[in-house]
Structures are given as structure tokens and as C-alpha cells.
Symmetry: none
Subunit: 286 residues, 2 copies
DNA sequence: TTCAAATCTGAAATTTGTTTTCAATATTGA
DNA sequence: TCAATATTGAAAACAAATTTCAGATTTGAA
């Protein structure tokens, strides 16, 4: 299948003026005709519908809709071949993107960041975290602000895994609880920057009472993860501020998801069955 | 970007008989319609042209020729790729995957589902939702259970956009509030299955009081989205039950993220500046 | 179970878009 | 220069897509 656009290019030079207008327009906007009627196309190119038909004939296609199909085949099979360097997302809501493009770019952006996660999230660390959680009977959750969202979700997950979960949204209460950690408990702290004063105070309390601490922060040095026995980390997006996106939230949920599965993987068959029972109950119809 | 056929597959089961005939025919002969008129296609599938139009509408494409274009895009972009059958994720925690592989598969799985979202999430609908929210002064949030997580996140987003947000976790209170919707308010209901009795009751209350309702559910028929003025939809994963993954949560957050950006896109410069101020304040160091 | 409301269906009418026709105009080559 | 040939676009004819509508069916509420 020789390229259709190439074919147009090749005959373009010896086309009569009016047909050439159309050919030129198509060569410059190969995907545009897909969304135009013949009349629109001819108007846009400064010609008339009859000419479009004649051009189709000359190109040996079966009519205008066949023309469109050949064109779309061309356009879409090339799509994504020479991806441009993606400075996308810099300030995407200012860039006048259509909502469709916004969605597409956003999907790309998120997928790309998920891929990055593969190199940042260390399997051994996930395993270690799963191990600790698996052994613990009770999990104490630490965090506030936007981390609450993730913690609530984690609360569901852990409950489903059969853990007792202690989670109060008030950080001061969290701190109080952190001082009374016992052997069968583990604390799980979430904070993107790892620099929340109060959360860190709770983490210190956990260490002082000799308890285990798992943390989930962005990659790099920070006070929270320094205190941790197991440090889960997600990439720092950098764009977060400007875009206002909650990519961070998605990555955090993703990590807790993986962790959930990892814990499940360590369980016995009966334990897994129990998890399924809890799950079926908790889902019902929400 | 393989997803238009996936979309058809997803809704196929709950299509009315006559539309299903056509969907089935297309699924079995994905490239056939490209060379057929609507009448031919409907005849081949044992249905009528009007039904084809209706199916196009349901698929959120712009008419039969748009349908053809989407299809050709699918057919031709896949040509010669030899996708392997991907039975991944069926029961991945039973399959003895190493944690590294678990992460890798999970990333693939999530990315793939994000791609599916592209054909399920209709830009026009997102636009409509953004429009409604932009005009409203106050947003009332509806939902419970695992949707709480998303609603809390949404609460942050909306607050940052300068909206008054009314969100009580107690559904009964939500219902009560729903009866007193005023003109400058809009309700936003989230429920994966769209079949939560109490949430639906709140939604009905919204409609009875003449208010606007935006919903976020899985794709397909359900009582909640039926009541909606604007229906946002995410793909049904199917695996959700067995895997216990919270993919749904990720997709939901994703949608609200896109919506956030879409609303932002509709704002004036001063309004955007105000949003940034709120954002910088709200993030600080959590 | 019964009834009202909502949804589905396909034939027919309508609208929209494509293709052909044709007369006027321009171009070519002897 | 002047036939022969090719190009053009307006309008007519045609074809296909879309909407409408009224009857049939299904669904949901009481």
C-alpha cells in the first residue's frame, strides 16, 4: 500500500489550478477533511464540490467517503510515530487545548508518570512493607490535608485485609496514639513532601515507642522518610504546582494498590477467602 | 490507541436487541462498515438505518461518517501489530508473580485502562459539566462508601476553584440538603454502579427541587446516571472484583482532574490567579 | 399483578451531502 | 487564428444520512 498522501504529492504539480488548491489544502491539513463535508472542504480550499469529486476520480478512489477513509488510514497509521518531545502539561489549561486534546494529553502525561514509577518504586521495599503489614495486627495511619484522601482509601484496603485500622483525621490525636504503639502494630505515614511538622512529630513518637514505621513520600531526602523503617517513594512531578493536577494522588493510590496486592500475595488460602468475603460485602452497590 | 472497539464491546451487553445486532456485526467485521452505507450495514446486520444512527449517538460519535472514521482509525492503527492476547490481571495475586512483575503488570493494566477512558469519556460531556460547575456558586456532593475518597478529593479541587462546597459524609443529611437546592447550586453524585439506594434518593430530591445534577458512574445503564443532566462515565473494568484493585478510584480521580482543568480553562485571568493563590496556600507542606 | 412511564423499533418524511450534467470559459497546439 | 480539448462551477438529480412519529415493547412503581 503506497502512501496516499505521497500519491497526492506526486500528481499535485500537474493538477489543474482548481484541483491543485484542494490537493494543497489536503497536503497541509491531512486530517482536516475527515471532519468536513465535501462542500466545506471545497469552500476552505477556495474551490467547488464538483472539483473535489473530480480529484477523487483522478486519485482512483471511489468517491468522497472512500477518499476520507484512505486519508484516515494514512493519518492514523502514522500517528504517534515521531512523538514530539512532550513539553506538554507545562501550563496546559492556558494553552487553549480543546477538551478532547486535554484528555488525550492528560492520559499521556499520567501514563508516562506511571512508567516513571517503575524505576522509582523498588520492589524490595514494597515487599518489605507488605511483610511488615502482613505480620501486624493493627495499623495506625498518619497524615493530614490532601493525604487524607489516600489514607481513607488505605483504611478500606487494610480493613479488607483483616487489619485493625486506627485512623483519626485529627493529627494531634494521631500523635497521642503514636506514643502507645505496641509490638503487633505498625504505623503508616503519608505526606508528599515529608515535611509536615505534626505528622513528623507523630512519626517521632512512633520511633520513640519503638514501633515500626512505613512512609510514603516523594523521592529524595525529607524528614519523614528519614525516620522510616520502610520508605515507599513516588516520583516528584514538578509540574504539580503549575498544573494543579492531582497526579500525586493517583500515584499514591497506585502504590497502596500494589502494596495491597503484595500483602495478599503473602497470605494463605483461607486468609484470601476471608478477604474476598469482606470485599464482596464492602462493595455491594456503592 | 486501541479503544473504540473496546468501547463497543463494553456496552454491547446492555444494548437493545436491534442495536446489539449491529454492534455484534461490527465487532465481527470491524472493517466491513468502512465500505458500506448505513443502509447496507443495517441490512447486513438485520436491522434498520435508524438504529445505526442511534448506536452512533450512544457511542458519542458525530454520525455515521464519524463512526467510520473512528473505526478506520482502530482498524488501521492496529494492523500488523500482533498484540499478544494479554490475559494479564485475571487473578494476578494468585499467579505467583514476583513483586517486580506485579508492579510492571499493574502499570500496564492501569495504562491500558486509561487509554480505554479516552473513548468512554466524552469531551462534550466534560465540557458541559465544566460549564455547569463554572456557572454555579455552590456544589453539593453526593455519595458514600468508597466514593467518599473521591468526593473528599473533589472537595479540595472545588474549593480551590472558589466554589462553596457542601459535603456531609452522612447520606441522610445529603438527602436533606438535596431538597433545598437553589438556582446557583449544582449537585455532583458519584457512585460506581450508580445503584446506591440512598444516593439515588438524594439525586431524585435534586431533580424534584429542579436542580442540575452531574453524575460520575461506570458506563452503561444505571439509575443514578439516568437522573443526570450531565453523565460522566468511566469504563467498567470487569476485573475489579477478582483483583480487588482500586483502578476505579484512579479513573475517578482522573476524571475529576480533567474536569478541574476544564473548569479552569473557562475562567478569566483574575479568576485563575485567585485559584493559584488558594492552591499555594492549601498545599504548603502536606 | 396492574398500570403508567419510559424505551425501543422501523417506516416514512425530511434534511443533508454527493455526484452528474451542462453551458460558459479557458487553454492548447496545429 | 481557430478548432479541439480541458477546466470550471452553478444547478439539477441523486443518494445517503438523520429525524420524526406512532405503534409495540419493556421496565419500574404502586
Amino acid at each position: 500500500m503506497q502512501s496516499f498522501l505521497t500519491l497526492i504529492e506526486q500528481i499535485e504539480k500537474e493538477l489543474p489550478a482548481s484541483e491543485r488548491k484542494i490537493a494543497d489544502y489536503v497536503l497541509q491539513n491531512p486530517s482536516a477533511p475527515l471532519f468536513m463535508t465535501m462542500t466545506e472542504l471545497s469552500a476552505a480550499a477556495g474551490s467547488s464540490p464538483a472539483i473535489v469529486v473530480r480529484l477523487c476520480k483522478r486519485l482512483n478512489v471511489d468517491g468522497y467517503s472512500d477518499f476520507k477513509i484512505r486519508l484516515s488510514r494514512e493519518v492514523f497509521s502514522n500517528e504517534g510515530k515521531d512523538e514530539e518531545p512532550e513539553q506538554v502539561m507545562e501550563n496546559f489549561y492556558d494553552s487553549g487545548l480543546s477538551t478532547r486534546d486535554l484528555i488525550v494529553q492528560y492520559i499521556k502525561f499520567t501514563s508516562k508518570n506511571l512508567s516513571n514509577l517503575e524505576s522509582v518504586l523498588d520492589p524490595k521495599t514494597v515487599d518489605a512493607a507488605a511483610e511488615v503489614i502482613n505480620k501486624a495486627k493493627t495499623v495506625l495511619l498518619l497524615g493530614q490535608g490532601s493525604a487524607e484522601v489516600i489514607l481513607s482509601d488505605l483504611q478500606y484496603k487494610l480493613a479488607r485485609l483483616g487489619k485493625n485500622v486506627i485512623y483519626s483525621k485529627d493529627v494531634n490525636l494521631q500523635i497521642a496514639q503514636s506514643y502507645s504503639l505496641t509490638d503487633d502494630m505498625v504505623a503508616f505515614g503519608i505526606s508528599y513532601f515529608g515535611e509536615d511538622q505534626l505528622v513528623n512529630q507523630a512519626a517521632k513518637a512512633v520511633k520513640e515507642s519503638g514501633g515500626k514505621l512505613i512512609t510514603l513520600t516523594k523521592i529524595g531526602h525529607n524528614h519523614l522518610s528519614r525516620l522510616a523503617d520502610v520508605k515507599l517513594q513516588i516520583p516528584a512531578s514538578g509540574y504539580e504546582f503549575r498544573t494543579g493536577s492531582t497526579l500525586t494522588r493517583i500515584l499514591q493510590i497506585f502504590v497502596t494498590d500494589v502494596l495491597y496486592s503484595a500483602v495478599l500475595g503473602k497470605m494463605t488460602e483461607e486468609e484470601k477467602t476471608a478477604v474476598l468475603r469482606r470485599w464482596n460485602f464492602s462493595v455491594t452497590h456503592s
